[in-house]
Amino acid sequence: MADLRTTFAGIESPNPFWLASGPPTNTYGQVARAFDQGWGGAVWKTIGEPIINVFSRYGSVDLGQNRMMGFNNIELISDRPIAENLKEIAEVKRNYPKHAVIASLMVESKQKAWHEMVKQTEDTGADGIELNFGCPHGMSERGMGSAVGQVPDYTCQIVEWVKEVATIPVIVKLTPNVTDITYIARAAITGGADALSLINTINSIVGVDLTTFEPQPSVAGKSSHGGYCGPAVKPIALHLVSAVAGDPAVKIPISGIGGIATWRDAAEFVALGAGSLQVCTAVMHYGFRIVEDLIDGLSNWMDERGHRSLGDIRGRALPRVAKWEDLDLNYHLLAHIDQDKCIKCELCWTACEDGAHQAIRRLPRRNGGPVVEIIEEACVGCNLCAAVCPVQDCITMQRVPNDYAAVTWKEYAAGKGKLAPRSEHFHTAAWSTSAKS
């Protein structure tokens, strides 16, 4: 059985799965129940001067019948008194000593206010502190959340204030709503951060009611931009985690956040450098019980692949994240259609013909024979046909060997290396003479 025990910036937890700061970590009752069901840690709903929330708070982006493919919220930090939150954090930590309990904090940008808040938090016995510099709505209008996390100097300054008094690890939660997240990450490190967590939510408007023209979620006819999350944001989060993890200036651990719903998502984040994983939207959708398969699926996969601990896979994909100019131009692919698997929907044809490179030929429908075939001279190996094909492994991309050594754009542009020959028919309309039926 794979060893999922995690030590993140010195904070130990039985597995890497932490509840991210948000509605699921609002109370003792929720966090205790989550730990009972297997969660390894929890980052408490952000504490600060209690706020007043609006009623309508969440908006969903559905894909067909799939609910909450994307999700946004305009909810603010905790609306419960600081003392009450701190009391419950202490209680959770006392009753669940082996689990990671992290307090998420957000107060006004004053040194004294931060000192006071950090000291009170340390009295609870919490394992660490996460600084919420990412919340993009509401709090940012008051000079907190992403208003801090979008300015490197502010980020650095407040981390310094916190570190002046903190004795437990300090994690800085980054906002993706910036031009280059590595600048903020470096500023947090300069300020003394012990770890980073990312991404916080992305600025968004989830939709507009076409009867009333109210943006969603509507509050008495109006809405505000809110934080976007859920499965839809995972690719953005993966990129930003890899960008920070791959930055040579970043030598502190990273907690991965953003659309994690399955063990596969989790494994991808770890492969790109995440040391722990935080989940919120998937729990808001399906409840704490999802942790069972997160653990079970990850363990089974690790056992099957011979990975004994998370350390074996952490960052394994990072060396493969390259600049475009370092990709091999002589690596040639060709789409291959398994005609026995083809169900003759012709989605590949219409996608390639209208949306790509006119490299698939239609054949007349007769006698159950093939209805599409790859025009090898025109195929640029782009993957689109394989992406639209509804049958697994029907269209595969196959390597076309050549005798040429690898050559990157950087080398080629510098006059080094030779390009393997390419079809003269790329980028011509010569093949758009598909069979008409």
């Binding site: 067909g64 019948q65 169900i343 003759k344 929907c345 012709e346 989605l347 044809w349 219409t350 239609r362 429908r365 509804p390 049958v391 039926s437």
Partner: protein, 407 residues
């Protein structure tokens, strides 16, 4: 009818004749629509005689554009609504769905088609307008699906149309002949009304004996008179009390309260086509203790669709194969059917015999080489589905329009 048994309670009859394929809920329709792959050059569309652009109308359901969806359907097939309920989709669009080749259930095209067309029928949304007046006049003989499909498109082209119908109500077999649990007469008539509302003149109770007077008055004539009455068996006892032909039986059922249609306790249906299935299942649903198909050939020879056979079996109907009717027995009223089997002669006890061995051709003389005369539907194709009649009516309208505008 002397042999009839007491009617079942009304609530039971309502249940027995309720829609066999209830409509999809809005959620189920969205889920189903989202499963459609949106094939290019889709096999479902190719398989449909009216070539409804199936992926297009399903995509519109998925996007919440039900009006647009219904328009795609009805543009290609004026009887898209009754087809959604009565089409043999297992051998047409749904049978061609590529998901069958992925070893999955096909998209529920018929139910989605009903979902979209229900939407516009229930709201009485007007999707089509008559074309600009051309001054040309077309007579249509027969207000069945082929004639009315032709009439609908001729009105869209702008020609004046008069439809002559022998019966008191339009719709042909849609109104009078489709199994009650598939399509009810009021639904069929609502669909017909949509077509009539385009400005089609309808004359009911008019039997056309000769096309000559019409050809003298109109610029073209479309003949869609369907087939005639059920063929006779030509065996002794055929006129006994309790022998009825399937079309008469079904028409009575569809035009009266259920309890008023007489049914025997032990019913025998002679024939094994789709009409025979409609007769045997409905006899059973009316309350017959036994309802049995008697067929002179074997199980594999039955002309009915396989899924209709399965339906009859699910309804608890019986089947006697290789049993050739010799005579109907009885003294005044039916008491049994004598059949010849592979092992000799045998009597099947019964108190009602329904004959369903196909329809006769009508006797109206249709000039074969008059370019002003067009034919379609059952009288032209020998008896097929609503969708074939609709396709032929639509195609005839196109040809008539070409003749009237270019000829």
């Amino acid at each position: 009818m002397a042999n009839s048994i007491p009617a079942l309670p009304d609530e039971q009859l309502e249940r027995n004749f309720a829609d066999i394929a209830p409509p999809l809920t809005a959620d189920a329709a969205l889920l189903e629509a989202s499963k459609c792959l949106f094939c290019h050059d889709a096999p479902c569309t190719i398989a449909c005689p009216t070539h409804i652009d199936v992926p297009a109308f399903i995509k519109k359901i998925a996007s919440g554009n039900l009006r647009g969806s219904a328009r795609v359907i009805l543009d290609a097939n004026p009887f898209g609504h009754s087809c959604a309920r009565a089409c043999p989709v297992e051998v047409l669009c749904e049978g061609a769905c590529v998901l069958n080749d992925r070893d999955e259930q096909p998209i529920k095209i018929a139910l989605l088609q009903r979902h979209a067309t229900d939407y516009v029928l229930e709201r009485k949304l007007r999707l089509f307008e008559p074309g600009p007046h051309t001054g040309k006049r077309v007579a249509i003989v027969g207000a069945g699906p082929s004639g009315l499909a032709c009439a609908r498109d001729l009105r869209r082209y702008g020609h004046a149309v008069t439809v002559f119908e022998a019966k008191t109500q339009p719709g042909g077999l849609n109104t009078y002949g489709i199994a009650e649990y598939k399509l009810k007469a009021d639904v069929a008539l609502a669909e017909v009304q949509d077509i009539l509302d385009l400005g089609v003149e309808l004359q009911t109770g008019v039997t056309i004996a000769s096309l000559e007077p019409l050809l003298a008055t109109y610029d073209a004539v479309f003949v869609g008179i369907g087939l005639g009455s059920t063929k006779r068996l030509g065996i002794p006892g055929e006129d006994l009390q309790g022998v009825v032909d399937a079309l008469t039986f079904i028409e009575h059922l569809k035009t009266h309260p259920y309890r008023e249609t007489a049914v025997g306790k032990e019913v025998v249906v002679i024939g094994a086509g789709n009409t025979a299935i409609d007769a045997v299942t409905q006899a059973k649903r009316l309350g017959a203790a036994t309802a049995t198909i008697v067929y002179r050939r074997g199980e594999r020879d039955m002309p009915c669709y396989h899924y209709e056979y399965e339906l009859a079996k699910r309804d608890g109907c019986g089947f006697r194969f290789h049993a050739a009717p010799q005579r109907v027995l009885g003294n005044g009223a039916v008491a049994g059917l004598e059949v010849r089997t592979t092992s000799g002669t045998e009597t099947i006890p019964c108190d009602m015999v329904i004959i369903a061995i196909g329809q006769q051709e009508r006797s109206l003389a249709v000039p074969r080489n008059d370019p002003r005369v067009f034919v379609g539907g059952d009288c032209a194709n020998g008896g097929a589905e609503i969708v074939n009649a609709a396709a032929e009516g639509v195609s005839a309208a196109k040809r008539i329009h070409e003749r009237l505008t270019n000829g």
